[in-house]
Amino acid sequence: MTRLLYFAWVKDKTGIAAEDVDLPENIDTVADVIAWLKTRGPQYENAFAQSEAIRAAIDQTHARIDASVASAKEIAFFPPVTGG
């Protein structure tokens, strides 16, 4: 089980803030997770349509698109940050 989190407009588009999923076996990287999410329905397809605008964190640490999700408990997807 992996916990997926969505923030800001990514959350608005997926329509949910968090969900627990079983990732398919062939998934290795953040990019693979995004590709898989896009097959799960039009709201995901829409949320991840411009994947270059999406940032990710694995277990609360910023992660690149090619980072391994092998031992990830929590993966978050969000736009570039705009705080401060």
């Binding site: 964190a57 609360q60 640490t61 940050v81 705009t82 705080g83």
Partner: protein, 152 residues
């Protein structure tokens, strides 16, 4: 020290707390960021702003940034306070304090903390105004500002 909170902060009190009875601090730089009413790119007036954040990761990122500042500059004390929730024009959003024996380190560290916070703390601004609501776009300038601290 870092804090994420919905309530306001008092800059004077935060400085006092940080200085306590110390007499080795010579320079204190504070940065406070406030909500502007003309924040929107399209010139529309902002009436309200909501800061969403990633609880847990925000604290981790702020602590990591603060730690990095201490490895780069001889700081005697520092503080980062980030507000989340709903704010209005004139309200405080963020406070950074850096204290050192000399002013150069205090100025540079405070500036570094802000540049890094702006590009790595998982916070997102949503503005409300007469034109409706919208998520604020990331500012390319902030990302350029952060690159100047890169050590190769």
């Amino acid at each position: 020290m870092i804090r994420v909170q919905t309530g306001d902060f008092d800059i004077g009190k935060e400085i006092e707390r940080l200085r306590a009875d110390r007499t080795d601090i010579g320079a204190i730089v504070t940065f406070s960021g406030t909500v502007r009413d003309a924040q929107r790119d399209d010139g529309g007036a902002v009436t309200e702003m909501t800061l969403e954040h990633y609880p847990g990761m925000t604290e981790k990122e702020l602590a990591r940034i603060e730690e990095e500042a201490h490895t780069r500059w001889p700081l005697q004390a520092s503080l980062i306070v980030h507000r989340v929730g709903t704010l209005r024009p004139g309200d405080n959003i963020v406070l950074v304090i850096a204290a050192s024996a000399h002013r150069e380190a205090a100025f540079e560290a405070a500036s570094f903390l802000m540049d890094y916070l702006k590009t790595s703390a998982p916070n997102w601004k949503r503005e409300s105004g007469a034109e409706g609501e919208r998520w604020v776009d990331a500012n390319e300038k902030d990302y350029r500002a952060a690159t100047r601290w890169r050590e190769d």
